[in-house]
């Protein structure tokens, strides 16, 4: 599985505006922390703008430039500039003040509630804390917000992203020095549709007891 292509697919999705809220927040945080990712996003924006420039035009029939000018007087187009440009803390407030839920000693989580079928949460690991060897049911995206962690695949620092799927088994350990805070997205398990669907879903349901 090629993670580079998956990362780019995510950034491209952000540029095209087709991500759901959780992934959109995740990617905006990625672009906020990672300048290389932000530059790639800018290349994607330009590719899409190039598509726009070369599109077969369809002139609008009912609107003209005067309408556009006049309608600005009726609506509030003022631009609010907040002092906080961090997409995550802009939404949930300061990370120091969150009410974390302890999962086990040294490992805490904070769920970010968005209307999305993907689950998005923050994970906080104390220095040196490790997660037992595991694989993933759905696909999982991890973005390091603070500190660092390492696993069999390398070291991940602030602004680095890791994508995990079913094939990946890993054993992450938070940095001894600062621990680690990550933003994580887990995609929902695939739900099967159609005639065979209920049988397959029942199978996944039973299977989940043997994990």
């Amino acid at each position: 599985m090629n993670t580079v292509a998956q990362k780019n697919e995510l950034i491209f999705g952000y540029s095209s505006g087709n991500l759901t809220e959780a992934k959109s927040l995740f990617v905006s945080m990625y672009l906020y922390l990672n300048s290389v990712a932000a530059k790639n996003a800018s290349i994607f924006d330009n590719i899409l703008a190039d598509n726009l420039a070369n599109l077969d035009e369809v002139a609008p029939k009912k609107i003209n430039y005067k309408d556009c000018i006049n309608s600005t007087y009726n609506q509030n187009l003022s631009f609010k500039i907040t002092k906080n440009n961090n997409p995550l803390t802009n939404l949930i407030g300061s990370i120091d003040k969150l009410k974390w839920k302890s999962i086990y000693k040294g490992f805490r989580e904070f769920n970010i509630s968005l209307k999305d079928s993907d689950t998005i949460k923050l994970i906080k690991m104390d220095p040196g804390i490790s997660v037992p060897l595991h694989s993933h049911n759905g696909k999982e995206y991890i973005l390091v917000i603070d500190g660092s962690f390492c696993d069999e695949y390398g070291e991940y620092k602030k602004g680095d992203m890791q994508i995990n799927d079913q094939k990946i088994k890993h054993h992450p350990i938070a940095s001894n020095k600062n621990g680690c805070i990550c933003l994580s997205i887990t995609e929902r398990d695939v739900i099967f549709f159609g005639k065979l669907g209920s049988a397959l879903n029942l199978f996944t349901f039973i299977k989940s007891f043997f994990k």
């Binding site: 090629n2 580079v4 292509a5 998956q6 780019n8 697919e9 491209f12 999705g13 095209s16 505006g17 087709n18 809220e21 959780a22 959109s24 927040l25 905006s28 672009l31 906020y32 300048s35 932000a38 530059k39 790639n40 996003a41 800018s42 290349i43 924006d45 330009n46 590719i47 899409l48 703008a49 190039d50 598509n51 726009l52 420039a53 599109l55 077969d56 035009e57 369809v58 002139a59 609008p60 029939k61 609107i63 003209n64 430039y65 309408d67 556009c68 000018i69 309608s71 600005t72 187009l77 631009f79 609010k80 500039i81 907040t82 440009n85 997409p87 802009n90 939404l91 968005l114 209307k115």
Partner: protein, 187 residues
């Protein structure tokens, strides 16, 4: 290389013209400049929304919103940060996102954050045009079409599979391999 340079120069010249109009609009509130910009942009943006499967009425409504935003916020366009057409594209895209999220909470991603990311853009036009041209050269027509359908027209993989009459798995793997091919011209 000469052709490439010519192409890039043409794009840069077109951009200069649009920047000129944007400045007249933001500095002098020049309605004639805006009318020229409208004639250039509105048919493209309208076509973009139609391609994104919106109806005639809604496409025109959104096109008007985009052009209104450009009139009202032209001073936020920064030629140092992007080409004008790219700025216009991001406004059109953001309106599309807002449309789909209208009923949901909008706090997750504020416009000012998108603007902040834009302001922090550190890449220069020439660098970008060079990347894009190399990408275009590297990808064959089908691959470019696939990217356009998936990311510009926002068609689902399923819809693409139907339109191109290829299996769904093939659409997914082709998009992946296209993105892989692009990688060497990204950062």
């Amino acid at each position: 290389m000469v052709v490439l340079k010519f192409k890039i120069n043409k794009i840069i010249m077109e951009n200069e013209r649009l920047i000129g109009l944007a400045i007249k609009i933001s500095k002098n509130r020049d309605e004639r400049a805006f009318s020229e910009l409208f004639d250039f942009l509105a048919p493209k943006i309208n076509a973009y929304y139609l391609k994104n499967n919106l109806g005639f009425e809604q496409s025109e409504e959104l096109t008007q919103e985009v052009l209104s935003t450009i009139w009202a916020k032209a001073d936020l366009f920064d030629p140092e940060r992007s080409k004008f057409i790219t700025w216009a594209y991001t406004i059109a895209r953001n309106k599309k996102i807002d449309l789909y999220r209208k009923t949901k909470n909008k706090t997750a991603e504020d416009e000012d954050i998108r603007h902040f990311l834009y302001q922090n853009n550190e890449i220069n036009d020439y660098e970008i045009e060079l990347s894009i041209n190399k990408i275009k050269k590297e990808l064959d027509e089908n691959q470019q079409k696939l990217l356009k359908m998936s990311f510009f027209e926002q068609k689902s993989h399923k819809k693409i599979a139907e339109e191109l009459e290829i299996p769904l798995g093939t659409v997914k793997s082709r998009i992946r391999s296209t993105l892989n091919k692009m990688q060497k011209f990204l950062l």
